[in-house]
Subunit: 528 residues, 2 copies
């Protein structure tokens, strides 16, 4: 039986950009569009030309790039009431964008037509039909039926009329939008079937556009595909307004790897998905979502002695698919729930598993440290150095003689802020003593600056690394301000990112230890 | 038609704690358990007594708290092979936990029995049955069928046998676990029906336990409930291993507000859900997920001219439910009055809602501070003082002239630790100047000690208060060590406990501000 192709329509650059905290520059959009084309996305919705200059520029610039088989779409609304399509600025902007596809959104819900647009139901149909006719003259036309499911619930006959108006006007795709995100899968299935049946005599295919307000966007989109939809609209990583659009990563993965009978992205490999996901996060300056299905850093991360023991025997017993299929990888976490098998997996990576005596020493040390508040899951580099220390292969690149931070507020009375932080450190590098001081926004920032000052002559490669994240956690809540503090630092250079940890009752000491590990890890990597 | 009750089983403290980066102290677990009981969660799985001391302590301590109708469950595995139930340490640990419920997990998948546990299929059935019989003597027994869907796929007859063994042994609940998270909704529906039918002659109810590896945990759990399951196992905010367990927030909301014919939490109001979600994130020291369905800060946040216009006319046109139902609120992102916390509720508490001008000033100040990283949900005392300042009824009991902390390690070479922290402060109390210094375990501990030294002559009532918790949070992750730091302090006297907050790039300044608010709150209370 031939697999049925489901086309993927990406609106990361338009609907996705409406997510809180998301803002793409023109360059960002062009870069993302190229990455989408590389993996074989069928439709790339680039923006809303009527709404802003940046989107107009996007459509101009994107023509200079090779997007393979992917088609760029320009998005816009139906013509204004009491105006002809040819005179409407939105219509003109769409035509001027000169894209192979145009996506036209129109009102489906009778209430929206009469109360929000303030037109009669008939006028709305005319707006849809005339806009469709005008825009489909020189472009493939996709019609987005806004609020389709709510509109169908309120007035099913009218909702179908709006679809027919668009189809009669020349739309070849009718995408049913669950704009409020509140429809349930069984209802999506029923209504999608009804729409397909009602439009049986028209030369159209049906698409689906879901939002995640009930955490059912993926289920709804799959239900629509099962009901006959052949286009899925969504965004990479599910970014978008409110709870986001459907995550195309999940949709592509589910359609290609979990469902039977469908093919996506022209049958291409899904291996680039993980990197694509991270690229979009980085470009949008958003945090990665570790627990994101398929491509999250934790998606195949196993903790808890009970599970890791089994994984070491056969991965399929605890993984529903092979992480490599989407470019992800298995991770074994070290934690307080780790028995011997967690350590084994990490030690395998370090090629130590045959040395039982060493393994026992490492395990004993990990347990000792965990009881003090250490946790090595986000501190793989500190764990790495721990193994080296126990195995005798740790070579410190400098020695801390002393360090102190002075911080506070010198002057709370004047207009200028007296808040300050200074770090003073003394290190030994080889035979030389280095005494340095630095200012900073706060104590840890100052310590980091002082450390780099002291080491950069001897170790210029430190300029390649930067601190990207800093977390502080009190690990014994309930003891007030005398509790143990856990500091996690994330560092990165162009090849990898690594986590280190420090624990102490004194946050300055905890921060210093985490910083030293971060730097030593880099130096161990780069000075063979 | 009567609504069917669906029981909610929370494993935030056990399965949820296996999520990456999640670590709960004993106190954290007790606090969360109480909050779960308050909203009416039916079953609270507290931990795995065989695996660690902290969980044993939990079951001991939780008996001292009033959990209303909620039942605490202790979790454990079937007895070891070649050992009688009564001699098995895991069995004994479960009985010693003394909980009203016990949750027993056993192998369903023939492969797991023979290759992982290395027992015959018959022995596995005996292990299940004998463990169930032993544990159900004095507790309600819930049986978790691990890998049920994969096991049923591999060998359906054997999978059913494992369920029957547990039921015959005395389990009254059989929860079907999609442990790998890879099953699709239609299959969950089919297999759940098959299990219910096969167990028709037994006095059992069926539960469902899903993981989110395909982003279908909610859909799968709903499918199982539609198929006849009457218990849903999950975690608050969906925390848990890999991609997490099903999010009980979404499940409760969907069952109560979206699906027809079901009732949850004994019909209680869902208004506490939003606060509960945030409380669990804060306690786990995890970031809130803004786009989280129902309770996320962005779940009802509207952006984009096209939508806001319509919202102002009629909220239901763009919201699938009223956010107030789950204790969330609508936010209009273009409005200057969008605030993240439930300002209205707090202002109502202070009886200010009739003073519109004052309310506007307070709102404006809150928005300003929130943009800097403040959040008043766990800092009610700081909010209280903020209101007083704006209302003109704040009377500072002392004035900060300056303060500084010196901390670090003086001597990393000797045997004695050179780690130190000293605080030096200068305050004005009335007409007198106080200059004091104190040592501490760390900077904040030292500042607190110095502050008390300086104020205790004039204000002896400060001896009644103590600091009970201290949380630190970086509020602008991604900026390395120059980010804003949010410090939350919890203080208590014999009458109440109160939270205060400080925010700054400099952790010392943030800590000082939170400490000053904590002390001023006490002094405002006690010096009329």
């Amino acid at each position: 039986m031939n697999a049925k192709p489901i086309l993927i329509y990406d609106t990361t650059l338009r609907d996705g950009s409406q997510g809180e905290g998301v803002s793409f520059s023109l360059q960002d959009k062009l870069n993302i569009a190229e990455r989408l084309a590389e993996i074989g996305i069928d439709f790339i919705e680039g923006g809303y030309p009527l709404s802003n200059e940046k989107d107009v520029a996007f459509f101009r610039e994107i023509k200079k790039r090779d997007l393979g088989q992917s088609k760029v779409c320009a998005f816009g609304m139906t013509r204004r009431k009491s105006m002809q399509a040819k005179d409407d600025p939105g219509m003109k902007a769409l035509v001027e964008a000169g894209t192979p596809c145009i996506t036209l959104v129109g009102k489906t819900w009778d209430y929206h037509a009469t109360e929000v647009l303030r037109v009669t139901l008939e006028e709305n149909l005319a707006m849809i039909g005339e806009s469709a006719e005008f825009l489909s003259r020189n472009a493939e036309l996709i019609y987005d039926a806004e609020h389709f499911f709510d509109g169908y619930h309120a007035n099913p006959e009218y909702a179908i009329k709006t679809l027919k108006a668009a189809a009669a006007g020349g739309a070849t795709w009718l995408s049913l939008c669950d704009t409020n995100g509140g429809t349930l899968p069984e209802r999506v299935s029923e209504v999608t079937r009804a729409a397909i049946e009602a439009l049986a005599d028209y030369n159209v295919q049906i698409g689906i556009h879901c939002h995640n307000d009930c955490e059912l966007a993926v289920a709804n989109s799959l239900a629509a595909v099962d009901a006959g939809a052949t286009q899925v609209q969504g965004t990479i990583n599910g970014i978008g307004e409110r709870c986001g659009n459907v995550d195309l990563i999940s949709m592509i993965s589910n359609l290609a790897l979990k469902k039977k009978g469908f093919t996506v992205l022209g049958g291409r490999s899904l291996k680039p998905l993980t990197q694509l996901s991270r690229f979009v996060y980085e470009t949008a300056n958003l945090q990665w979502r570790n627990s994101q299905p398929f491509v999250g850093q934790s998606a195949f991360a196993h903790k808890g002695g009970m599970h890791v023991h089994a994984i070491n025997k056969a991965a399929k017993t605890y993984e529903h698919i092979d992480p490599a299929l989407i470019g992800n990888e298995r991770r074994i976490l070290v934690s307080e729930l780790s028995g011997r098998s967690n350590i084994t997996a990490l030690a395998t990576k370090h090629k130590l598993e045959d040395d039982r005596e060493l393994m026992d020493k490492i395990l004993a040390e990990v347990v000792r440290l965990e009881n003090q508040g250490y946790q090595f899951e986000n501190a793989g580099a500190s764990f790495d150095l721990l193994i080296k220390r126990i195995a005798g292969s740790y070579t410190p690149h400098f020695e801390t003689i002393k360090y102190r931070v002075v911080a506070g507020d010198r002057n709370t009375e004047g207009e200028a802020s007296g808040v300050f932080a200074e770090a003073i450190i003394k290190l030994k590098v080889g035979d030389a003593l280095w005494f340095d001081a630095a200012e900073g926004h706060g104590p840890v920032n100052a310590l980091d600056a002082a450390l780099r000052k002291a080491l950069s002559d001897e170790y210029p490669q430190l300029a390649e690394m930067r601190l990207t994240d800093y977390k502080v956690r009190v690990v014994d809540s309930g003891s007030g301000t005398a509790a143990s503090i856990r500091v996690n630092i994330e560092s990165t250079d162009e090849h990898e990112s690594w986590g280190t940890i420090g624990v102490s009752e004194n946050i300055i000491e905890a921060s210093w230890n985490a910083l030293v590990d971060a730097v030593e890890y880099k130096l161990h990597k780069s000075t063979p």
